[in-house]
Symmetry: C2
Subunit: 548 residues, 2 copies
Amino acid sequence: MAAKDRKQPRPRAETPKGFRDYFGPEVTERKAMLDRIAEVYHLYGFDALESSAVETVEALGKFLPDVDRPNEGVFAWVDEADGWLALRYDLTAPLARVYAQFRNDLPTPYRRYAMGPVWRNEKPGPGRFRQFYQCDADTVGAPSVAADAEICAMLADTLEAVGIPRGDYVVRINNRKVLNGVLEVAGLLDPTQPDLHAHERGIVLRAIDKLDRLGEGGVRALLGDGRKDESGDFTEGAKLTEEQVEPIMYFVAAGRILDQLMRAYLDAEWEALSGSVPPDFLDSALEIRKILQSEVDENRRSLRASEIRNANAIRYLEQLVERSQLGKDGIEELRQIEKFCRGQGYLADRIVIDPSVVRGLGYYTGPVYEAELTFEIPGEDGKPRQFGSVAGGGRYDDLVKRFTGQAVPATGVSIGVDRLLAALRAKRGEVAPPPGPVVVTVMDRDRMADYLAMVADLRAAGIRAEVYLGNPKNFGNQLKYADRRGAPAAVIQGADEAARGVVQVKDLKLGAEIAAEASLEEWKAQPAQREVPRSGLVDEIRRILGKS
Amino acid sequence: MAAKDRKQPRPRAETPKGFRDYFGPEVTERKAMLDRIAEVYHLYGFDALESSAVETVEALGKFLPDVDRPNEGVFAWVDEADGWLALRYDLTAPLARVYAQFRNDLPTPYRRYAMGPVWRNEKPGPGRFRQFYQCDADTVGAPSVAADAEICAMLADTLEAVGIPRGDYVVRINNRKVLNGVLEVAGLLDPTQPDLHAHERGIVLRAIDKLDRLGEGGVRALLGDGRKDESGDFTEGAKLTEEQVEPIMYFVAAGRILDQLMRAYLDAEWEALSGSVPPDFLDSALEIRKILQSEVDENRRSLRASEIRNANAIRYLEQLVERSQLGKDGIEELRQIEKFCRGQGYLADRIVIDPSVVRGLGYYTGPVYEAELTFEIPGEDGKPRQFGSVAGGGRYDDLVKRFTGQAVPATGVSIGVDRLLAALRAKRGEVAPPPGPVVVTVMDRDRMADYLAMVADLRAAGIRAEVYLGNPKNFGNQLKYADRRGAPAAVIQGADEAARGVVQVKDLKLGAEIAAEASLEEWKAQPAQREVPRSGLVDEIRRILGKS
């Protein structure tokens, strides 16, 4: 076999492409964050659910986002016992299956939270992983938009609980019904014949979802004949008439226009706006300008501005969908959500109505929402940019219906765990890693039992401690190991110390400080290594840890 | 599409066969237990590692346990980017890959813990799941058996930390080298030609591992010509001579014989033993009997008995392998582990040497260990039986070598999370589920904002609370919901109460108690429903929660 071994190539020690491992603090930091989130979810009455990571392909269905991506998909295989199985690609599709399966045993409404890995069979790329964590909260069986408002409020609480201060985030809400109203106005949606124009609507929705990347011009091209990208690839457009394009582009431009409007109030630059907003928006402009200028308190002015922006958003959307009952229903829901949030103390500085929130997923049917972090971090080009979205969700009333045939209203949010963690790190900046264990070195291999007794004493006192378990021959390696472990202290006991019943305790933190900056006098005054009786070991380590 | 829908069958809402979902307390109880375990592991200097759930099949290798099971295997599929991928079947194979991949960045020795699901593509059966949790701790790069002793001690601490009291568990240790020594004595292993007789050794190891199920007679049959099971299936034997079988059967019978020996000391029934133990074992018997009888304290006598059993085990094994250097090395390691544990205060009541511990996995090369719970639970037949094994592990010095070509010593333990959790539940008995959230009912749909403000107030005070989000028409359904949620209290505010600025608070726990057992006087004295001012809602709920 030794001969055979030489011929067989050794396996590569590599994570599969698009997968990664998480070490030490990466695991415990994420866990601490998820624990905080779970506490908030629990406080809101949500119960934990951990569904199977594996589902039948049949149960998962075809609700993947980004359906026009070439390599999108799931990891799937044929099982002898159960046909096609697949790894879950999100936590929502499994929830729909669980609710349909266990609905007679679950309370209705059913509030549940779930956290865990999901898998996407996408083409691996830099920074794009095929396994990542999600952290969801959903309410199934609640038709009232009070459920959506609750989740928006909870999302705000969650962000504050994990360490994003108020003012550094905003929860943006919108309503798919408003967008559908716009599509109805554009002649692309007939509520009595829901399948008509489905193809064009698909193109329009995907185009709108790409606004960030393509800009208004790119979206407009996709609504018309189509668009050629930088590589020369041509994407077929929806081939709408100019009359159809117009209301959709008003919707697409809403975010930009409402921003301009707010700036105009402050700068009195009305000219930039003429033509892009309905004239009556400018009527009350001078009045609004006065209100904003009369606020001397910065926070109150900012809140007032957000309130005005919310009111403007509603008015703007109202004008877009005034010929669509569906659209008007959507706006009424937005008003209600805003009212429910306000009644609980979540004002416009935290929860805003924003027509630019669309959310890519096809399955949303009502309110959609998104949490955005508004503080700036350096972008790839070095210029500061807003951190951006860390969570999103909405109402999806049809997912359970797939299984049961009966519509079950549901709404929920998914937090992008890795992005939120990255945001917390960016916010916090570099910090020292948590201290490592105390390392008891091995001077005399035959007295291992004594060294083990030392770490046992330390652990019994609640102090994280290790005995050096590598080859003890080279003592320098042991101190290097202690350094690498971030040990606050090292314990040394040779034959001489053992005979005298003492140990040497090396204060590695102090040692590092002294080496870096102390004067000779300080060095002498604070020796980084002290001899203490063996019986005083725990106290000495406590002393060192206490002061560090 | 509506027409098409009708033709397409609806997907089944079913977990795939062999998989399951975990709800509410099932999730949070397991999490609480794993948190306790992680604390102990951390105290011992182990660092968290969360490796990818997906590995290349090449990296996973063929180290599955129970290689003679027909449906054993992994869930695997072909990936466009990376060839064959598979879900991990344990946490050890990924650790070997991680260590080989990142060994230059990791400390050596590397102590790591990991917890998470693993997947086995086995034939699903009642109570046998294809996804389950493991919780492992391993030390890589530590040649000394001090690393094994450390893990045995940590295992004892872990069991106590999660709630298994001392006396209700025992960590049993053995050494593969002793078994290999026995095989050497039987002429089945030549250390200079390790591949010789590999086939027969495989049969012998698997036979020994089935001792529990087959009994000594069944094992003996498999060492000889073979064995026919109840279904008539014939399993080929190792075809050993009687001379070869004898030392192996002495090894197989060791546990039973050592038990008999202990009983004999206490009952002076030497006759049962004659012939089955070497004569000199009986020489000191009367003396040992005297020692045991002289202890009046029950705990000390039990500890002394365990110490004597440990000593007997060593002597017994020594006689079996006296012609094998490998076997003698193994016994020396067992002595050391026992000494290291004793030096840290882990005596023979917690850590015992037990020749019957074999551990099925083929990759163990040295010490093996197992944690067994010794308290009794009712078995399937209603008779009490010992709970049995909840964790096991050992030294596997060759797993990393597959990747790097260099032997890297490693040892570690895996806790069967579901079994340990089941043990804790069995130990604890039925307990009341944790209290649910306070439920604020909806009497008047138009005043939803007011109800939402109530739950917001309660949550701000740290009280878990929900507003009823189902259809509020039927008030009885709302109280049923509160009951199903295990709500300690329900809050009610109709138009009349709202006008008067009050709320009704229903103490559901007290209500249930009164309904069950209170006298009329008590009922009057402690009304289960009280009216309080809206501003006193939080205080009233606090009062109810405080007393329950």
